[in-house]
Subunit: 345 residues, 4 copies
Amino acid sequence: MKIKIGILGATGYTGAELLRLLVGHPHAEIKWLTSEKFANKKISEVFPTLRNFIDLECKSIREINKFKNVDVVFSCLPHGSSMHFAKLFLDKGTKFIDFSADFRFTNLSLYNKLYKLNHINPELNKKSAYGLPELFRKKIKKSELISNPGCYATAAILGLAPLIKNNLIDAKFINIDAKAGLSGGGRAPVSERQFSEANDTISINSISNHNQKPEIEEQLSILYKAKSKLVFSTYNINIDRGILTTITAKLKNSISKSELLAKYKNFYKNENFIRLIDDEKNISTKNVRFTNYCDIGVNIQNRHIVCVTALDNLGKGASGQAVQNMNIIFNLEESDGLQNTGLYP
Amino acid sequence: MKIKIGILGATGYTGAELLRLLVGHPHAEIKWLTSEKFANKKISEVFPTLRNFIDLECKSIREINKFKNVDVVFSCLPHGSSMHFAKLFLDKGTKFIDFSADFRFTNLSLYNKLYKLNHINPELNKKSAYGLPELFRKKIKKSELISNPGCYATAAILGLAPLIKNNLIDAKFINIDAKAGLSGGGRAPVSERQFSEANDTISINSISNHNQKPEIEEQLSILYKAKSKLVFSTYNINIDRGILTTITAKLKNSISKSELLAKYKNFYKNENFIRLIDDEKNISTKNVRFTNYCDIGVNIQNRHIVCVTALDNLGKGASGQAVQNMNIIFNLEESDGLQNTGLYP
Amino acid sequence: MKIKIGILGATGYTGAELLRLLVGHPHAEIKWLTSEKFANKKISEVFPTLRNFIDLECKSIREINKFKNVDVVFSCLPHGSSMHFAKLFLDKGTKFIDFSADFRFTNLSLYNKLYKLNHINPELNKKSAYGLPELFRKKIKKSELISNPGCYATAAILGLAPLIKNNLIDAKFINIDAKAGLSGGGRAPVSERQFSEANDTISINSISNHNQKPEIEEQLSILYKAKSKLVFSTYNINIDRGILTTITAKLKNSISKSELLAKYKNFYKNENFIRLIDDEKNISTKNVRFTNYCDIGVNIQNRHIVCVTALDNLGKGASGQAVQNMNIIFNLEESDGLQNTGLYP
Amino acid sequence: MKIKIGILGATGYTGAELLRLLVGHPHAEIKWLTSEKFANKKISEVFPTLRNFIDLECKSIREINKFKNVDVVFSCLPHGSSMHFAKLFLDKGTKFIDFSADFRFTNLSLYNKLYKLNHINPELNKKSAYGLPELFRKKIKKSELISNPGCYATAAILGLAPLIKNNLIDAKFINIDAKAGLSGGGRAPVSERQFSEANDTISINSISNHNQKPEIEEQLSILYKAKSKLVFSTYNINIDRGILTTITAKLKNSISKSELLAKYKNFYKNENFIRLIDDEKNISTKNVRFTNYCDIGVNIQNRHIVCVTALDNLGKGASGQAVQNMNIIFNLEESDGLQNTGLYP
């Protein structure tokens, strides 16, 4: 069986990674893809790595009414655009997996404030599932509209969930420090991501009000009724891909590193894409790049937990997770098309 | 059907890449692997990217007599070591694919001089096939001992073959300039490949007598009775993987770029892993890393051809090509386990 | 006037940077330097960047008794070695500026435990000044034995001092997250710093018990009688030089970002090498590499301060600071030999 | 004495490097600088590395008539712009050092064709000196209009001059292969120089008709009446700065490596900024970045010379050389402001 697929906004970095994954997926068949910038150009000219693998021509979204029916649409459109197209496809019975923040928030006034937009479809928003399979698999399975989480939010929530579920930490002050590769900033050329500016340096992305901080807080509240308060800082690192996130919080009770690790291992015991790493020195973004894995390690300092998670911002943090969600809603093996080792060296 | 496989010297960079490819190969089953440095350690501890994929323990080669029979042995041992083990396996009917230079040379006195060794088995050497499938496929298919070519030699010969076969250039002075990533130097820690030394810089690897220069000259002579004279220079670049090779030679007759490209396209018309690139600006090591592709482009300056080839030194330049050779000798699809897009971004 | 200088252990990375700075210093004259690995080799052969600038031959420390008298000795020897040589020079009236941890701790049992050594000279240890000029300038000026601080400790203490001095934060839980370039690990070749391992990745250096955590805690206690408790985590980043440190702590009282910045600006108002950066997005390791600057920015989240400091681990974090200390004890301009812009791009 | 200086187009990469050098120059005083993009912004906000060093506000070139008189103007304007401003300053007795190609060519029809422009001032063009001091020092000294050479041309001509002067090679086929860092492409953001595109890869810049090929050929003709024919190829490498150029040509007569080196050493015996390197393995872009040095090494293969030159495209290849030219025309020490070691690690 092949799932018929359409992709909106296929020529950014998440689009490129989605295409790479779907091209190697045993049950995927891409039927059409859009790009305003590269309309009428072959996708294998836009991304030379796809030569010999896929030859479709990019369409303009203005021709949307002519697109063939598909089973699922992935939308890699920017925040504020996806919500304008979701209903069109859902009404035809097409599933919709959205990469933007448009359906991530239950609290829409928060969404409106953070993204400086007015949400146009609160009804539809209610039907969306937050696409973090390890924590919301059941809801995802029943849903037709999946809101793929933010990359930072994925990294943070996967590290925090076992702590909050097991009531191990004081959630009133959680420090999160997330170091990220530059593909996270997107494909449009800007000065600060030019090679000569961004090479050989660490710089600050945000130490004040990052949009994904409230996303994390809301999901922790939905999951565990936790009232968490985060300090959330992000950095730009001269790597192509990857987020390494460090979570620090005060432990409520004394606990050893091995007991903590056991809690995490138990929490994720059925999860294919979460790997608990005994020796935290083996955690790196290099080990997870181009995979759907999230590696997690822990240690303890002065009665605080230090939990580190590593994932690929375009993999588990975006396109890999989107494919995982597709696999779930179409009852495929959850790891179909995602079961590859990391890349070394 | 699964091919049963043993690997000698599995814990260097070519070993790591070979393991990655075989773990994802539909017809491969690794039975044992050796490492002197990591004997008795699990391979997934040596290479964390292999966690969840392969769990074998590294064996010492000293226990070679206890190893189970396999269909094929890959030897990633250093030059001078492989020749000591090949016969043992071949006598049992096991195929032997060797990464070292031990069986690359027809002229053994040249081998002895270049590698400062004395070849111990000239008889066996005569039976080996030079494992460059695009040019020696028939011989490889019939052979039990395959000598995998050098990475530079692969890049150079694939660029030169159509020129020499079609008698297009004066072979008396061919300039080859090969820029290579640092994984080519191997996994053992040395000062000049330490990050702080090797980062953000281009340096000279060799501008005098590189060992693979005579290898190229001998193969061109075997293929086309060409008496070629090369100037061959190599450089270290701060990238993980990849070789970009530029070949310059005087054209015998006037020819246009499009005619040249047509000659190349015709020469490689049945080849899955050679891609002729019309716009040479689309050639880069990034487009071919972690693949078995060799991308080729050409242009003309002052009646000289400039031909550029790009491949992954650990892919088409080593382990990918070794798997391609395995596929050939076991009558599998030649692209089994090797059919993946490049990685972007 | 020229200060006559000797250098012990000149051929590591701190030695290289010290030589670069002293070669350009208007009042410095290097008289001898030692290296066990490169004894009898010219320093300009060890470090080709010094060609045309300094031509001395490296001496073995075993010939120490033949070395000419100098005004000051810099010791770049490893922890545990420096303490064996300091007295010899101090007894002759030679100043001694030590890069190791040997004289950094007041609490020697802590030193012994952290570095797994037995301090051989507690009397001498009492006479040392902690060489962080912005906070200990007066003591440094009067001292003949200077203990140059750790690079992480410099970055952390400079960020924390204004907060603790002004009683702005709760010191019971201070989170410090320090991302560092790979030159900090030293010049000896090891696997994890080989280019192909360390390139294009962020990995964990330590999330448990880093040696410089107690160093910071002790200095904060000496300075302000502060009983601080740190969570201190460090990372390896694929850059040559630089530390970006993020300090998070709970603010005791409500305060605005601009008020906070004003406190910092006032605290460091006479300091040449501390730059307060209004827009924290302008803070990066690239802006301070190869300088003696420490750039500092602040912001506020959920009633916590987020303070970021950036410095060059070999500059203000080691050799630059050592030269600054030399300038102080010899009554030179504190910025002599250190007054250069950053390097861009 | 201070030279009063104006800079046109100061906010690109060559401008940044020029400012860095002039700020540290003992006899330079920058009076004004222009930038259309950053007009009315402080230069220390445009380039944070200049904080504490220079505080001038960028002017728009439209206010050119209000600019104070200066002794020399450096023009970092694009090709085709400089020629519109040179006369204005020269008429006032101000020297003019131009970074563009506008005054590089004797053959203006060649210039017009290469740059797709029409030269507006052939008379002025005749008065310009080609600003390569090692070969044109006398003419530079007497000239008021200096045309700073191209970065590639500098690297190539410095390597070729001793060969052609001494009639050592056959100039009918010279192969030049130049690998360059990405700052050479300029500061304007474009897709192919975005970090995620340009990191960890070597790609082709040009293998056909680079604009600096005829520049090299013309200068060799002017210097030595040599009719040279070049094959000239350039590459983009993921480094910030540096060009490593390899020149290959057939030797007319048999000669040893040491004899060749001796010829070079003799040719450049009075040159401060040319360093002949005996062991070519010590040649790298890292050794010369942020300096005005050009390192040169040679070897011989199959009766061909292989000559390698390394320089910093923004240093000796642009702004460093421009300062060297300024020093010459104002009778300063030629090395003033340029006498620093390389940067390591």
